[in-house]
């Protein structure tokens, strides 16, 4: 360790300025950090002591200590982890099917005028209907509840990826295509090496919005039509008046949504590396 005994008054002017600048930065960082801790801490404390303090509304909720206690119990149960597994499976399947259908159909519609004119009217009629509104019909239509939930998740992610793919593929700078044709591209080259990569960034944007909607849909569908999953567990906890458990489910769903968004972001920087460093 260096000697850190105070040497006030010594040292060049430059060092003093540098020292001051560093102190200013450090104190600002500390201040921001301190403010963050302060605001979260205040809310936590108000929430915890809402009942003794007689605060309105917030005292309807169980305090954080009870939530922590409930989470300890819930995290040890199979019910909870099965819920995670089933919701994740539904999200993954519904979301992937939406990509597998949405991306090719979107590309076809963007490149082929007649298919656009055939499919687009249907899209325009069905798209404004919120996916949640499909739940009753979906239950009747599909033979199992599982398929109904999957279908709702699918719808949540489908429209956005479809529209983003169409938008991306039809707004490609015409000079890219011209240059590629001049250089001797076949139709295949033009599709795989120009149109598809040029559309990838829009597809990824569609995915990151779509995964958020897909989570909303899986929770809503499980609440109404499911017999399992995090959404079902959340609603069941409410039904049996286990509000602390509800809050644990809410936080879990939040974590799941955050992790899925991060996965999409990583996927995006993997398939579109040219957009990584600007």
């Amino acid at each position: 360790m260096a000697d850190i005994s105070p040497s006030l008054g010594s040292g060049s002017a430059r060092r003093t300025i540098l020292g001051r600048a560093m102190f200013a930065i450090a104190s600002r960082l500390n201040l921001n950090f301190f403010l963050g801790v302060l605001s979260i801490g205040t809310i936590g404390l108000l929430w915890e002591y809402a009942r003794p303090l007689g605060l309105p509304l917030i005292s309807n909720l169980p305090p954080p200590s009870e939530v922590v206690h409930a989470s300890r119990r819930l995290l040890l149960s199979n019910l909870y982890w099965d819920g995670w597994a089933l919701s994740l499976r539904r999200i993954t399947l519904g979301f992937l099917i939406a990509q597998l259908v949405g991306i090719p159909v979107g590309l076809l519609m963007a490149m082929h005028r007649a298919s656009f004119n055939t499919i687009f009217p249907i899209v325009e009629i069905l798209r404004p209907i919120p996916p949640v509104a499909w739940i009753p019909v979906s239950i009747i239509f599909w033979p199992t509840r599982e398929l109904s939930v999957l279908f709702i998740v699918f719808l949540g992610a489908f429209w956005i990826v479809l529209l983003n793919t169409i938008g991306g593929a039809s707004n490609i700078d015409p000079n890219y295509k011209r240059a590629a044709i001049s250089l001797g591209s076949t139709r295949r080259d033009l599709f795989w090496r120009i149109i598809l990569p040029a559309t990838v960034p829009s597809i990824v944007t569609g995915m990151s919005v779509g995964i958020g909607i897909a989570w909303e849909m899986v929770i809503a569908a499980e609440m109404v039509a499911g017999r399992t999953g995090l959404g079902y567990l959340l609603w069941q906890s409410f039904e049996i008046n286990a509000i602390a458990q509800c809050i644990v489910c809410m936080i879990s769903i939040g974590i799941a949504g955050y992790v899925s968004s991060e996965i999409i972001r990583l996927f995006g920087s993997f398939v579109a590396p040219w957009q990584r460093q600007r």
């Binding site: 890219y176 011209r178 001049s182 001797g184 090496r193 990569p197 040029a198 040219w274």
Partner: protein, 286 residues
């Protein structure tokens, strides 16, 4: 304008080419009865007020669009569509952003196939344009001047018979632009490459051109053909010669008339040109 009396072999010939967009109710003629030729192995500069239809002419010669009337021939045959004999270096740049610089340059050879030593050629070309250390970078990681050079390499590796450069230096800062002009001189002087180079800058045009085509303002047609007989190899020193001054004042006086017309129809570039011309006349009178 009739055919030029340029003596060399004509690689590309435009005969009374007209291009009209829109339908019979709302038609806009962008190119009207335009005739000129590109001499083989010569550097031809197309100059005219901005928005006068220069890019349309490039698109017609490249084969991206067809003339409404008239005929364009390449080595005696009418142009039917784009081929790699006539490659375009686009305004701003059309490097594929999703490919590295090396992949961009290799795009032509890779879709054409049958070019086993293309990789070495690509690296040699990148070295020639000073980008060997940037071959694995994406276009958006390069400066404007580097992007232009990379796009040049992407075209040159295919050994095009004619290189069509559509305002390739537009959007570069003055310093980079000057460096790129010197660079283009170095690259093509004595190379025998047939080039059509579009610009709005008179100095740039005189510095680079063997032949110059002055376009009238919209709709475009060849108004005058000028042979730039300044000796080669050229440097910025040509700007100090009396012949340069002569050429410039001649070109300015023709473009001035065109600019006045374009100005009447609201072109800003034209206003700039008129201002420059007036200033020049004033200093000349003193």
């Amino acid at each position: 304008m009739a055919h030029p009396d340029w003596s060399g072999e004509r690689e590309i010939v435009l005969e009374a080419v007209t291009k009209t967009y829109g339908d019979e109710f709302d038609a806009k003629t962008v190119v009207s009865e335009c005739s000129f030729a590109l001499e083989k192995g010569k550097f031809t500069v197309l100059i005219g007020p901005s928005g006068c239809g220069k890019t349309t002419l490039i698109n017609l010669i490249a084969g991206y669009e067809r003339p409404t009337a008239g005929k364009i021939t390449f080595e005696g045959k009418e142009i039917a569509g784009p081929t790699r004999d006539r490659l375009v270096v686009f305004q701003e740049t059309a490097l594929f952003p999703w490919m590295t610089i090396f992949q961009n340059v290799m795009y032509g050879p890779s879709v054409q196939q049958g070019r086993p030593d293309a990789k070495e050629e690509a690296m040699a070309l990148l070295a020639k344009v000073g980008l060997q250390d940037f071959h694995d970078k994406y276009p958006n990681q390069l400066s404007g001047g580097m992007q232009r050079r990379a796009e040049l390499a992407r075209a040159l590796i295919n050994k095009p018979r004619v290189l069509l450069m559509d305002e390739p230096l537009r959007g570069l800062d003055a310093m980079t632009r000057q460096l790129m002009q010197e660079y283009i001189l170095k690259l093509f002087e004595g190379s025998g490459q047939t080039i059509l180079f579009v610009t709005t800058e008179i100095d740039e045009a005189i510095l680079l051109a063997d032949n110059m085509i002055l376009l009238s303002s919209s709709p475009a047609s060849a108004k005058e053909l000028i042979r730039v007989d300044l000796p080669r190899p050229r440097t910025e020193a040509v700007f100090d010669t009396p012949r340069y001054a002569e050429l410039k004042s001649h070109i300015l006086s023709i473009l001035y008339g065109e600019a006045l017309q374009a100005f009447a129809s609201g072109s800003r570039a034209a206003a700039d040109l008129i201002e420059a011309f007036e200033a020049r006349r004033k200093t000349g009178a003193e």
